[in-house]
Amino acid sequence: MIDDWVGHLHRRWDSPVARLPATFKLGVGLVIIFGTVLAPPWAVGWFVSAALLLLITVALSRIPPLFLLKRLAWLSPLILGVALVNALQPAARGSWMLVAAKSTICLLTIIVVSNTTPFSRILRVLKAAHVPGLLITTLALMHRYLFVLVEEAERMRRARASRTFTHRRGARWQTLSTVVSQLFVRASERAERIYDAMCARGWK
């Protein structure tokens, strides 16, 4: 699961879509999402054209279809949940099909944009949109050290597991809590070293 979720961070499929400027892709993506959310139930034309545009983009962007389907499948339990809950409440406004359609289109948009745009470009767009510097730095550092920490957590967990000879849940929880706390302490210490490294090269 880790590989699937985090590995894709660094997978970049080169394609005509990937070469488009980030601002353009983000802009179009936002327009599609806004429009879809605002669209009333009878605006079938909008839904169909948005879906078509997305499918064409997906084809051009060379994102593997299996990868896409796996991500879309994530939505299904939520939609089922809403459907179930709505089934018991006949007065509920808006059918779940509409919710499903809107969500799928928006999800597809995000997946396409995020898989054809490096995160650092997205950050640059946010910076240009006057998002405060502290948040940008936090996002940048988070993105850079995400995989590092995930790997560290995995290594620690494996090392602990190799010395765990009991399957009692209580012991597992203690082990995992220790791993998580160690991860925080190491992250803290690494943050201090990063601060030193930034200062060493002139950051103020």
Binding site: P90, G94, L135, V150, W173, S177, V185, A191
Partner: protein
């Protein structure tokens, strides 16, 4: 609890976005003012830490597993403003990179998990610490606040879904609240275990170094509290209020009713077929209230069992 796009409508997205923008803006300003420069990279690393931690599976029963969301944990370690920034960063990355939570729904997710969850949870944590001193008090506070914040965030989420008309309030409330009352136990328990482990390893990380002076902090908390209260008033109160007819007349007088096809406040669905669901919602509310007392007791017991008597003397008690 990440709401995807399409589940909430435009007005809900806009309202939550405004509330969140205010809260995050305030948090950023506070963090810039009170955080020593040395700790700036810690925000990014804490965000990466939260993300990595959310993927750790804590086995529950029969193949299911719990996960730590970590809002209250981060707030207890870094203070409410830093926690809001950290959680916002996590939610943004989850939204943009993993499509976990919608783009327009980002405002709602940030409001639920960062402002209500982290800052609200922190307020509860500080209150409990105020009454119960020492390490035991802190551990109990983290556990209890973890549970409360999960439940409160889920109730707000239900309110937002109902306001959008995606799911009717009684059903949304029952489903979200009952599920999260259980999930919250995991959150509280894991947060407490991790907090205590960090306390033992590096007590300086759990001390007041990361938090600003007490007086300033209460001011900050009051602001977040106001934002939270505003959100709850908008999204939850209309539904939870026992006099919906009264609210309806107010709405009519203020002209809300005139929006074409849009009713800001939903009237309770008439008829007998929904009585069952409304009863369930009422029962859930009662269970929640009783649950709060039970969980508080459990949190105290947990702290008792985890923290040895000797540890109390070694660590300084909170002011």
């Amino acid at each position: 609890m990440h709401i995807p796009d399409g589940f909430i409508d435009a007005k809900t997205a806009a309202a939550t976005a405004l509330l969140s923008a205010a809260g995050v803006g305030l948090a950023l300003r506070q963090a810039r003012r009170t955080l020593p420069p040395r700790r700036v990279p810690l925000l990014g690393l804490a965000a990466a830490f939260l993300f990595a931690t959310q993927m750790v599976n804590f086995p529950v029963a029969g193949g299911t597993s719990g996960h730590l969301v970590g809002g209250v944990l981060v707030a207890a370690l870094l203070g409410p403003s830093a926690a809001i920034v950290v959680l916002t960063a996590v939610l943004i990355v989850q939204c943009f990179l993993f499509a976990d939570g919608g783009v327009l729904a980002l405002g709602a997710n940030v409001f639920n998990m960062a402002i209500i969850g982290a800052a609200g949870g922190y307020a509860i944590y500080r209150l409990v610490c105020h009454w119960l001193p020492g390490t035991r008090g802190q551990v109990a506070a983290v556990a209890f606040a973890g549970w409360c914040s999960t439940l409160l965030a889920s109730i707000c989420c239900a309110g937002e879904l109902a306001w959008s008309g995606t799911v009717a309030w009684p059903a949304a409330f029952t489903a979200m609240a009952s599920v999260h009352m259980v999930i919250g136990i995991g959150e509280g328990l894991i947060s407490a275990l991790v907090f205590l482990a960090i306390r033992r390893m590096r007590p300086d990380l759990t001390g007041e170094i990361n938090a600003p002076a007490p007086t300033r902090q209460w001011g900050e908390l009051v602001c977040y509290g106001l934002l939270a209260a505003l959100g709850i008033t908008i999204f939850v109160a209309p539904f939870a209020c026992p006099w919906p007819d009264g609210l309806e007349s107010v709405a009519a007088r203020l002209g809300f009713e005139h929006q074409a096809g849009h009713r800001v406040v939903r009237a309770p669905a008439p008829g007998y077929q929904v009585a069952g669901v409304r009863w369930a919602a009422g029962a859930t509310a009662v269970a929640g209230a009783a649950g709060t007392l039970v969980v508080f007791g459990l949190a105290l017991l947990l702290a008792r069992s985890l923290v040895r008597e000797t540890e109390e003397d070694n660590h300084p008690t909170r002011p």
